[in-house]
Subunit: 367 residues, 2 copies
């Protein structure tokens, strides 16, 4: 392989794809970036086995070929050569990078060991506003599971029906769901996409335009400005949210978001080092009494609210309620409860596009 | 103790003093903030035993008294009550904070166990431009030792002679020194101030004005807008820089700072996970050849330079040379060497107010 390219182009490409490099792996080639010189292009590619990112740049190719370079060293090094023209050439064991009067050599691995990435993904697709895709991802991804006990919960479910998308995630303690219109879809579909993939997609996309997501054979593909991201999807049955979200509630509370948030945050401080970071909502006639209690001290704050239905006293993880409240967008929120041991929900007062459900924590008092 | 104060005043005070709270200690009271209600003021104080920060705010005192509250919990909690008026009252075991309709209780410790902080420090003093004090601190503090093997090296030496200040720090591998004019001083003096104290002072001071530093009985005191910082100083003999900095050099090199920095940073990337992060300078007729070598690969970069004197090849820790180059302020730098085993220096070409000295690393080739 031998080629000449601009440092600024190669730097831009390696900084985009290096995000797909594996970090801690027993397969060193997954920590590499693969460079492929073909015709008048250099293809820059990285994958950790789940997600892949590829970008093609212009280059003068004197000898075609493929090679794998150590991903993070290479990207950090090339980042510092944005202003110059680079000549890359390889023999079996190393790549030589020549720039100005200088010369760097890097150990390489054989491209034969690098996974083959299938980018022929186009059977099904859906298209939506880029801002909407960001909104769907941001509204749900924080509720995905972070541990491996049920791997499918590390993904977010996208259900497409009649040109509408419903995104749902849950971690066993809480659930987030949001729905909205698509611009178009080739048909109904149901996928579970790894949250890490969604987070990389969220960073790739930008602006007022539209984004199309392609789906085929358990994989997805998104392309933005010559950068192609692919990822495997998760297989298996995702929890049906209809079976979890109550349809009726015995208590409905309308409350000012800012006041609720401030009180919860203060109550959370004193329990932040406790297991479950427990705070209690005591809902009565015209208020929520928010309280917490730890060896540091105790907080008791009434927050004015419009309450319909039965009184209820319920304990929860303060982190979950803070994140749900932060993800809601209106000044007034609605909370709805059934009992101290049943899941409760938080929604905007008006726009019902998204809903957060939280399981209460059983305490000595209500277990 | 019972008092009423504004949340915004108390929040400002606790956020300033909490920086002096101890973090990991076997003495819980050092993790506290001490509140003292006297006359029409509330004195807010924290100390880790070495450094103390104190701020006095206005308050309506209904009952004088002293109490210790858990520092970080209290400051994070009060931070979220900036907009309201607070009533603080204590009994033996707890403090009650009342605001609007809400009430919080916090466990307290007896103020009797809190160290007595001597703020009667005024025997000697020196005064300088605030910007100069920031410059002195920033130019030297990164070269202080971070381990405890020779505790005095965790401080920075300030020597005052004839209205001039010379600040010096060293960690056993490198030395930084800077000197400049004072506005005034009560006399000559020599102190070694903990680098952590200097870093807190650097954050406290700001603006175009002047700062006065008071010294007495092995302690210093700085006051900025009702915030009073005191700190113990280190005792013991500090290394005499005159004994370490060579007076003559066999090789002098004048080099462009930007070019030198870019080459060193690239060479450092390939050795960043190696012990000593070793890079080599090979100084010959009209250039420095910068190189590095690791199992990842090797870099070789010539940097044009004006060289006077003998050729020299010298190995060094790339982190030390990068930090020294970054701390120099002119476009052209001067490096001066004697041999591959003797310390070398880096300075600005013109302004000789500061100097960095670095010990080379002995390698198999030159040991």
């Amino acid at each position: 392989m031998k080629l000449v390219c601009e440092g600024i182009d190669l730097s831009d490409a390696v900084l985009k794809v290096v995000k797909a490099c594996a970090t801690k792996t027993v397969t060193p080639v997954l920590e590499c970036i693969k460079l492929s010189a073909r015709n008048d292009s250099l293809i820059v590619l990285a994958t950790d086995g789940e997600i892949s990112i590829q970008k093609t740049i212009k280059a003068d190719i004197y000898e075609e070929g493929d090679v794998c370079v150590p991903g993070r060293y290479f990207s950090d090094f090339i980042k510092k050569l944005e202003g110059v023209q680079l000549t890359l050439s390889t023999d079996e064991k190393r790549m030589t990078i020549v720039y100005a009067d200088s010369q760097t050599e890097m150990q390489v691995l054989s491209a034969a060991d690098f996974p083959v990435i299938d980018t022929d993904i186009n059977e099904n697709s859906f298209r939506l506003k880029t801002a909407d895709l960001k909104k769907f991802i941001n509204a749900t991804s924080f509720c995905c599971a972070s541990d491996d006990s049920r791997p499918i919960l590390k993904g977010c479910q996208f259900v497409i029906r009649n040109n509408e998308l419903c995104a749902t995630s849950l971690d066993g303690f809480r659930l987030a769901t949001i729905h909205g219109e698509l611009i178009s879809a080739t048909g109904d579909m149901e996928i579970v996409c790894p949250v890490r993939t969604l987070s990389e997609i969220e960073k790739m996309i930008d602006g007022d335009g539209e984004t199309e997501i392609f789906v085929q054979k358990g994989r997805i593909l998104v392309e933005v400005d010559d950068t192609v991201l692919t990822s495997r999807l998760y297989n298996g049955d995702f929890i049906k949210k209809e079976n979890i979200i109550p349809k009726e509630f015995t208590t409905k509370v309308k409350v000012d978001k800012a006041a609720l948030k401030a009180s919860i945050e203060r109550a959370a401080i004193l329990v932040r080092n406790d297991k479950n970071s427990l705070i209690i909502f005591d809902v009565t006639a015209d208020k929520i009494e928010i309280s917490s209690n730890s060896e540091i001290g105790s907080v008791q704050e009434p927050v004015k609210a419009q309450v319909e239905g039965k009184d209820v006293k319920i304990a929860m993880n303060s982190k979950f309620i803070i994140e749900a409240v932060n993800a809601l967008t209106e000044d007034k929120l609605v909370l709805a409860f059934n009992s101290q041991i049943q899941p409760f929900i938080c929604e905007n007062e008006e726009a019902k596009d998204r809903l957060y459900l939280i399981l209460p924590v059983r305490t000595m008092n209500n277990a």
